[in-house]
């Protein structure tokens, strides 16, 4: 029998190895991309001597392995170099923008769970009936709308009809937390919409499948009410399979926020990433890519842990 601690340690080692591979990939990718950062910064008019001087200043003349080592140490201390374009520490830049992206993803995730769960439970009660059909059709429509289209529609709706939620003005959470949440609600909703549909569809079929399983029949023969069976047996079992889907949705949401930020004019990581790309700001770019990958890997790690907590078959082999 495998111990709980052993499982956790194994997973942690797995996590660290994954992160190391990710860092290596990110570093290699940005090192082999053609185009010299020093040349880009100085422009085509600059002389080769000037370019060489700047290369030495930026440390670009050192061997790759040394640069990778110092970059790795920088990542660990949350200071992976200085941005060429902003002339600021990459860590600091990311820290400034992170609350927008994280906050938006968190709100979107809460929306997905709060809306799709009850919808799925209600829909799965009587599959094939009118309510279920309506929910499924709505699900299909939502699934088909890309987040940026949803964003534009929502801006139109909120701006012209209700003028309720602030569009386009970002409030930092330290200034006014409620205002911060308020300005993120619409963009979060735009990201959440297709994910709600996805999570709904998955949960619904998983609940329907669990409801016809043998242990549900056993519970019925024990005299449990349908509601008790739903809460105590059906939902926990469908949760085991949804944990994976939820973690995929969550990492999807992180990625989806990059586009929506652009539409809603929010100062998040996505816009920082776009500007870093257009200016060939490699330190910033690799920093953002790595930390986004870092968050994703951590999410999958947490979902593995959550799955093992939810399912004794994983925990106690």
């Amino acid at each position: 029998m495998q111990s709980k601690a052993g499982y956790l340690i194994g997973k942690l080692v797995e996590l660290l190895l994954t992160l190391l591979v990710v860092s290596l990939l990110v570093f290699t990718a940005f090192s082999i991309i053609p185009g010299d950062a020093a040349r880009v910064m100085l422009g085509p008019e600059a002389s080769q001597a000037q370019v060489d001087l700047l290369r030495a200043e930026l440390g670009l003349d050192k061997p790759l392995i040394v640069r990778y080592g110092s970059w790795l140490i920088g990542l660990l201390t949350f200071n992976p170099g200085t941005s060429y374009a902003y002339h600021m520490s990459v860590g600091e830049l990311i820290a400034q923008r992170l609350p927008v992206t994280i906050g938006m993803s968190a709100i979107a995730m809460i929306m997905v769970i709060v809306i799709s769960y009850p919808m799925a439970v209600l829909s799965a009660r009587k599959p094939g009936r009118f309510g279920d059909q309506v929910c499924s059709v709505i699900g299909h429509i939502l699934f088909a709308i890309p987040p940026y289209v949803a964003s534009l529609l929502l801006i139109l709706l909120a701006g012209s009809l209700f003028s309720l939620l602030t569009v386009g003005n970002y409030v930092s959470p330290s200034d006014d937390f409620i205002g911060y949440v308020g300005c993120l609600i619409l963009p979060s909703f735009a990201i959440a919409l297709p994910k709600i549909a996805m999570s709904f569809k998955f949960l619904r079929s998983s609940i329907i499948e669990q409801r016809t399983s043998d242990y549900v029949r056993t519970s019925k023969s024990h005299g449990l009410s349908d509601f008790k069976i739903l809460i105590r047996h059906v939902l926990p079992n469908s949760n085991v399979s949804s944990i994976t889907i939820i973690s995929i949705i969550l990492s999807d949401i992180l990625g989806g926020s990059l586009i929506v930020e652009q539409v809603f004019n929010l100062p998040g990581l996505g816009r920082l990433l776009l500007s870093a790309i257009s200016r060939r700001d490699f330190p910033l770019l690799s920093g953002i890519v790595f930390y986004l990958a870092f968050i994703t890997v951590i999410l999958y790690f947490l979902s593995d842990i959550a799955a093992s907590l939810a399912d004794p078959r994983i925990r106690l082999k």
């Binding site: 194994g10 043998d214 024990h222 009410s225 926990p236």
Partner: protein
């Protein structure tokens, strides 16, 4: 004739599954009329699909939503069940009516400890034992009654940590916890091996006396009701066609269908015309396996550490299968039979040598339901098997090749007792026995010299088993195909296997001529298998 107190009275019950297209379909239960006497064990037997399970579900009130009872009534201790509202009917379950089902491996919630699941029976019925301590005590007592010596440990175990027999005991404990007056057992032993079956039947009989319970015992196996039931009813196509005391049914069947069932259940070689081919042991074997050791691997990180547990399932197993031979492989559940054949087929990493003197080996498995792809037709399955065998001739033009392969498919299907009309059917449109035939046909089309069959009969009723058995011996005789037959039915081995291997805890404990091994068993595991067999079949 003496009058009896009936605990359940089913009165002219007719049940069907109406759909919008067909509002008056052929009834699943047709004018079923019987009573269960207080304190008796009543057997209900018949082939799969005859309506046994629907009868039990109708009594319990757990019929699928699409079912509709068109006429008749069901009375439980004088109360009309069909007039009750669903809520109070559900409340009767567990308290007045207990149930046990066929498949113990999936009948418990995998996420909940056994103790918690048993506790639910008590908490669902509020008037029962109040405090958690009292509940715990009641559960432990019941677990001890069903034969657990380590009841406290079982409470904290998850279902996957128990064996099939243990799970069925936990389920019986759950069903008997509130001492219901009626216990419905729907094929409670059909997925268990013979040794476990005998102990479970003994336990049920014991409980029946101790708690004064009445049992409705549903089975497709006539031999299982011997020595267990007081009375037996025979069901065919939704009708009860015969009912009598067990001894009368089993020894002097008056009804022709009952007699037929009985013959099939005995699987008598002479009556079925089974005739396996004669084996020449001087020829070189089709399959030689030497020193097979296999087990379940550790995860990537556990591998480096010193191993505390031994995951090895097979220890140094060697065997040979000769041409034309039907070699029997028996042993109780968990003895490593399935692991062995998975190793032989190369589906499991193992050490040791497997040498197969043939281009292809066929395999048929236990559960014909999940072996076929539900999305495709039988024709598709057969074509795929033919392609996989690589025996299609690529030199002839495509059209001709297609016609040729179709002709071959049809001839093989016909050999297996199916026909052209089955070509375009999907697996769900076939019965269990027919699906198993498709599985065999898929093997045959590859013209293997050896077919490995892993408990092919265990999910089939007696008639289908008998037909399948006949098919296997016919193939063996006419095509000289060797079989490695894994089964827990010693009776079948005795009838058709000239040689037998007995396995116990991952080792071969006995091997030799079937008559020698089964009449003078040298090892303890063979004798215990035989004892169980004797008890259940009364032979």
């Amino acid at each position: 004739m003496t009058t009896h107190i009936h605990i359940v009275k089913v009165h002219h019950l007719t049940l069907s599954f109406p759909t919008r297209k067909d509002p008056n379909p052929k009834p699943i239960l047709n004018d079923v009329d019987f009573g269960i006497r207080d304190g008796e064990i009543l057997g209900l037997i018949g082939n799969s699909g005859c309506g046994k399970t629907m009868t039990s579900l109708a009594i319990a009130g757990l019929l699928p939503e699409s079912a509709s009872i068109t006429s008749g009534s069901i009375k439980f201790a004088g109360k009309d069940l069909l007039a009750m509202d669903p809520k109070s009917r559900r409340a009767m379950l567990g308290k007045d009516i207990g149930m046990i089902f066929q498949e113990p491996s999936t009948a418990l919630d995998p996420l909940m400890t056994c103790g918690k699941q048993l506790e639910e029976v008590l908490t669902a019925h509020k008037d029962s034992t109040k405090t958690p301590e009292e509940r715990r005590k009641a559960i432990i007592e019941m677990l001890e009654t069903v034969g657990f010596t380590n009841a406290e440990e079982i409470l904290d175990r998850y279902p996957h940590q128990l064996s099939g027999g243990q799970r069925q005991r936990v389920l019986i404990a759950g069903a008997a916890l509130l001492k219901p007056r009626l216990l419905i057992c729907d094929e409670p032993t059909s997925s268990l091996d013979t040794v476990t079956t005998v102990s479970i039947l003994a336990l049920l009989k014991d409980l029946c006396h101790k708690l004064h319970m009445t049992i409705l015992f549903i089975s497709h196996d006539l031999s299982a009701v011997r020595g267990f039931c007081d009375r037996v009813m025979v069901m065919k196509d939704g009708k009860i066609i015969d009912k009598d005391t067990t001894s009368d049914i089993l020894s002097h069947p008056k009804n022709a269908y009952t007699a037929e069932l009985l013959t099939n259940a005995r699987l008598d070689t002479r009556l079925l015309g089974l005739e396996p081919a004669t084996v020449d042991y001087t020829r070189s074997p089709v399959l030689t396996a030497k020193n097979i050791t296999a087990g379940y691997g550790d995860s990537l990180f556990a591998r480096g550490k010193n191993r505390k547990t031994d995951n090895t399932i097979l220890h140094d197993v060697s065997l040979e299968v000769f041409p034309n031979e039907i070699l029997g492989l028996i042993g109780s559940s968990g003895s490593g039979k399935t692991t062995l054949i998975r190793s032989l087929l190369g589906l499991l990493p193992h050490s040791g040598k497997v040498n197969i003197r043939s281009s292809s080996v066929g395999a048929i498995f236990q559960d014909p339901v999940s072996c076929l792809n539900p999305a495709h037709t039988i024709k598709w399955h057969m074509e795929e098997a033919l392609r996989a065998s690589g025996k299609t001739d690529n030199s002839v033009p495509r059209k001709e090749r297609k016609a040729k392969s179709l002709a071959k498919i049809i001839s093989v299907l016909e050999e297996c007792g199916l026909g052209e009309q089955h070509l375009l059917r999907h697996p769900k449109e076939l019965s269990g026995g027919q699906r198993q035939r498709v599985a065999i046909a898929m093997c045959l089309i590859q013209e293997p010299s050896l077919i490995i069959a892993d408990e092919p009969f265990s999910s089939l009723d007696a008639s289908s088993s008998a037909e399948l058995l006949k098919l296997m011996t016919d193939i063996n005789r006419e095509r000289s195909t060797a079989f490695l037959l894994i089964t827990h039915n010693i009776h079948i081995v005795r009838q058709i296997c000239p040689r037998v291997i007995v396995m116990d805890s991952g080792r071969i404990c006995e091997e030799g001529n079937t008559t020698d091994v089964l009449t003078n068993p040298k090892s303890e595991c063979t004798s215990s298998l035989l004892d169980a067999e004797r008890e259940i079949h009364g032979i």
